[in-house]
């Protein structure tokens, strides 16, 4: 029995006169890896930003676990259980690796100014828990040895991992990854694939944008294809791969 986690309907997003998204609808089921592909400029990142609250759509419906997230701020979206990474890595460059992950838990913790100043037992315990969980997450993505390093000094691959750890620190139900394999070599891509499968196995649903179609076909349970701001196909990889409209969008000609 599949359980719908996220659903959008009729999402429109315009930038001035440009229709970046028109009438896009899709549903993501609990526990799957859902892929989003499309040629350059198809609106993938725009949709991604709508789903994570960074862009406010003009019209449409957006529900997540039964909660209305239409035109909600990113921090509200995160609180509801959607976490993200960025295509062009946006870490807190001058904080340590560990601190980056600790920031990720901000939304799940409570200590305020008073707690910070008085450092009462409850605040102390919470701070300790934050640290422990952060260390755990660094180990989970395989960069525990870099905890005290500044994020800016990490290698490219490790920065990608750190972004995932930071996103996981928000306790997401849905993890949204924006081209996590961009710029990676085959070995790193393979490691990343394993990491994503591990995350899914641990009960987190994944939304994935990726250029690497081969990777997507091998990894995703279902895929949606965007072209010119519209969804032109959705389904299991086999089905999508053979869809004439998808082939046309990618190759520019209709198959014979």
């Amino acid at each position: 029995m599949t359980e719908v986690l996220l659903s959008i309907e009729g999402i429109n997003k315009r930038f001035g006169g440009l229709h970046a998204l028109s009438g896009v609808g899709l549903t993501i089921n609990k526990g799957e890896i859902y892929g989003l592909i499309g040629p350059n400029g198809a609106g993938k990142t725009t949709l991604f930003n709508v789903l994570t609250g960074l862009y406010q759509p003009d019209e449409g419906k957006f529900t997540f676990q039964g909660k209305d997230l239409f035109r909600k701020k990113p921090n509200v979206v995160v609180e509801s259980g959607i976490a993200r990474t960025f295509q062009n890595i946006r870490l807190f460059a001058n904080m340590t690796t560990l601190e980056n992950v600790m920031v990720g838990q901000h939304v799940r913790t409570k200590t305020g100014v008073l707690g910070a100043v008085l450092r009462h037992p409850k605040a102390k315990a919470e701070e300790e828990a934050i640290r422990l969980k952060s260390e755990g997450l660094l180990a989970y993505v395989g960069i525990a040895d870099r905890a005290e390093e500044l994020a800016r000094n990490l290698s490219y691959g490790d920065q990608r991992r750190l972004e995932i750890a930071r996103a996981l620190a928000t306790n997401p139900t849905l993890l949204a990854l924006d081209e996590p394999a961009a710029g990676m070599n085959p070995k790193e891509t393979d490691d990343l694939k394993k990491l994503m499968e591990k995350i899914r196995a641990d009960g987190v649903t994944i939304l994935l944008i990726e250029h690497d179609v081969k990777l997507m076909m091998g990894l995703c349970d279902r895929i949606a294809v965007l072209d010119y701001g519209k969804k032109i196909a959705e389904g299991v990889p086999e089905q999508v791969k053979n869809d004439p409209r998808v082939i046309e969008a990618y190759l520019g000609v209709a198959p014979e």
């Binding site: 930038f15 990142t45 991604f48 930003n49 960074l54 960025f86 295509q87 924006d178």
Partner: protein
């Protein structure tokens, strides 16, 4: 007397001076994202040097018509200001181009303090009157008075702005400046010598500042070592109001600010039934600025920087 027209004229005069100074701020900001806090002091030095020159000439018994004396004074003041602007950039800003963003702001404040104090050491603590060498004929237009000097200020300011626009839009130097402000790295790759462009920006801005300084001194009949601070602040406000980094914005912001301030101080008392008098004039500039920025966070003509993920 028509108060409205009179205040409008006064506002246009002050506004065109603000605009000239604002251009200096905005050009530097456009190219290196730096608030050149010392620009107001350049304006002050321009005024001081001009006054000193004229006094020296008059003291030496040189018989020249007033405008000619003023021209000679300006010819001395402009190179001094240009040289100062050039040196400030070389000494206080260029070494810090890759430093944390606030470092050059602090050196700019340091330069500003140094210039102010040096001016006090040279010219003393008192107000320096502007020599009475200019014809002070008053024309009456539609119930408002305007002097030859005010007409000259507006005309010269317009001329200078026009010249600057031409330079930026039509000349090779202007193109290089625009390219640098868009993207210094790429401009460098295209063979633009960024250091030269930055220097030129400072030099041109300082020349405009020196002339504006003389206008301020002539308009208020006096100059003072501290005058650069407030006028610089107003001009910077004008540049932000228009959209900092935008040349047209600086002109628009300057003139608007001058007019709003002038009309505001003329009517504030009446509008509030005497509760707020014209001594709240300086608030006006800031209140307008805050209101504009709340609705247009990048100023009137500033580019809207869309958030990109």
């Amino acid at each position: 007397m028509d108060i409205f027209l009179q205040q409008l004229i006064n506002g246009l005069v002050v506004g065109s001076i603000y605009a000239l100074i604002a251009l200096g701020y905005t050009m530097v900001y456009g190219i290196m994202q730096l608030i050149n806090f010392a620009h107001g002091e350049i304006v002050m030095i321009g005024a001081m040097v001009t006054i000193t020159c004229i006094n020296l000439l008059v003291g030496a018994g040189v018989q020249l018509p007033g405008p000619a004396l003023l021209l000679v004074g300006l010819m001395m003041a402009i190179p001094v200001s240009m040289f100062l602007g050039y040196s400030i950039e070389k000494i206080a800003y260029q070494p810090l181009r890759k430093a944390p963003r606030l470092a050059p702001l602090i050196t700019a404040i340091g330069v500003s303090i140094v210039l102010q104090q040096a001016a006090m050491l040279i010219w003393g603590r008192n107000y320096r009157p502007f020599p009475q060498i200019l014809p002070s004929e008053v024309h009456i237009i539609g119930g408002a008075a305007i002097t030859d000097l005010q007409i000259a200020i507006i005309a010269l300011a317009l001329l200078l702005m026009g010249g600057l626009f031409f330079m930026i839009e039509k000349t090779k130097l202007g193109r290089a400046m625009r390219a640098t402000s868009q993207n210094p790295e790429v401009a460098k790759l295209m063979g633009v010598n960024v250091n030269t462009i930055v220097s030129m920006t400072f030099v041109i801005g300082s020349a405009l500042g020196a002339m504006a300084g003389v206008m301020v001194a002539a308009n208020y009949d006096q100059a003072h070592a501290y005058m650069g601070f407030m006028i610089g602040l107003k001009a910077f406000t004008a540049a932000v109001l228009g959209g900092i980094g935008n040349i047209g914005g600086a002109v628009l912001g300057g003139i608007l600010l001058g007019v709003i301030e002038s009309l505001g101080s003329g009517y504030l008392g009446d509008l509030t039934g005497g509760v707020l008098g014209s001594h709240y004039k300086d608030i006006f500039a800031f209140v307008v600025l805050i209101i504009v920025l709340v609705f247009r966070p990048s100023g009137l003509l500033g580019e809207r920087v869309a958030e990109r993920a």
